[in-house]
């Protein structure tokens, strides 16, 4: 069992400033981590010697170290180790593709509903069914079908910090149906086309 490189530890108190959002990241938290880091062999040799010097001068730190060892001993017991293994898919990853797809679906649904609201409002203004309103209705219908058909992705735990860190526009791809709806909307009006017989069926 070889240890990870102590120099790879990124959160040493002397190299990280305090004041981050998570209280565990604050300087006192980092000092509280020292006994654990020492016990786990994650401190560089110089820091190990420094920690031993501090313990020699501070019996309270010895007690802290003892408490850390107790906790680690309890965590290393077979009962604790046999705790249900967490599936890798359950881990909240900083940039999960699945979460990106979910966000995309949510954003697309929001956009579609906004477009549908505007279309419906436009229909009410015209009062008289036209070819434009028919196309809007067809587009609205297809949009709603697409929204309904978005598969429900398995729920993932999303921490506040993760959600805040994720750029909302990342991995966004405009769906084809949305482009089609926009194209239809931008076509010139042909109000001389009589309404279709299926219009009532649509509504």
């Amino acid at each position: 069992m070889s240890p990870s490189s102590p120099s790879s530890w990124p959160d040493r108190p002397d190299v990280q400033s305090a004041g981050t959002a998570d209280t565990a990241d604050a300087a006192p938290g980092m000092l509280a981590w020292d006994p654990f880091a020492y016990a786990l062999g994650e401190l560089p040799p110089a820091a190990q010697a420094c920690f031993e010097e501090r313990m020699a001068a501070d019996p309270e730190l010895c007690e802290e170290f003892l408490a850390a060892l107790r906790l680690l001993a309890a965590l290393s017991s077979p009962e604790t180790g046999s705790t249900r293994k967490v599936a890798a898919s359950q881990l909240s990853r900083p940039h999960s593709p699945a979460r990106g797809r979910r966000l995309t679906a949510i954003l697309a649904a929001s956009t579609a509903l906004a477009a549908a609201t505007l279309s419906a409002f436009s229909l009410h203004l015209h009062m008289v069914p036209t070819a434009d309103s028919l196309r809007d209705a067809v587009a609205l219908s297809s949009i709603l079908q697409q929204v309904d058909s978005v598969p429900e992705l398995p729920a993932e735990p999303v921490s506040d910090s993760d959600a805040a860190a994720m750029p909302l526009g990342e991995d966004l791809e405009t769906p084809g149906w949305l482009l089609t709806a926009v194209d239809l909307d931008e076509q010139p009006s042909t109000s001389d086309i009589p309404p279709s017989d299926d219009e009532e069926a649509i509504f």
Partner: protein
């Protein structure tokens, strides 16, 4: 009644003896955390007791526990200097074995508290607290501390940056440390 040298009361020696008995498990765990080897811990423990008894005249009974920690630490560091080749970090199995050994009847007198019962209660609470952590923190703690895997291995396995894995472990352990359910148990 005085000691051989006659310059300190015999109750100092008795108090130090009693302190060594009462603190045996704590001091051995403390030594294990520093020396990372049960073989060396046995040696350090014997040296600590001998030196403590020899120096009992200088003990301040009000701070006896801290005084014994200082002696144990000094002896452990002396052994560290004598044994340059040591495991790089504590083997979790050593900690668990020591805890288990402390729970056997031979390791404490009938007047001592039931270490097994306390230990099992602690483990039960630790399990409950562990389950309250986010899944990723549970997993990293389990992999690092129970399975003894390195952070590098865990990061590679989970396909995550090393810093992320380290942070998850640190946050999880510090949350456990400050969990009110565990705080009192860990002081006992």
């Amino acid at each position: 009644m005085s000691s051989d040298s006659g310059d300190f009361p015999d109750d100092h020696r008795k108090a130090v003896e009693a302190g060594c008995v009462q603190m045996q498990r704590d001091l051995q765990l403390f030594l294990t955390g520093i020396l990372r080897s049960r073989h060396l811990v046995e040696d350090a423990w014997q040296r600590t007791v001998i030196l403590a008894l020899q120096s009992a005249h200088s003990a301040r009974l009000g701070t006896l526990r801290g005084w014994l920690f200082q002696i144990a630490l000094n002896e452990a560091r002396r052994i560290l200097r004598e044994n340059r080749k040591l495991p790089a970090h504590t083997d979790p199995a050593d900690l668990a074995n020591l805890s288990a050994a402390a729970s056997t009847p031979a390791s404490h007198s009938s007047q001592a508290p039931d270490f097994r019962a306390i230990h099992e209660e602690t483990r039960s609470v630790v399990q409950e607290c562990l389950k309250s952590l986010p899944p990723e923190q549970q997993e990293v703690i389990r992999q690092r501390i129970y399975h003894g895997r390195t952070f590098t291995e865990i990061a590679a396995d989970l396909q995550l940056p090393l810093g992320t894995v380290l942070t998850w472990c640190r946050r999880g352990i510090l949350r456990l440390k400050t969990d009110p359910r565990l705080k009192d148990l860990m002081k006992d």
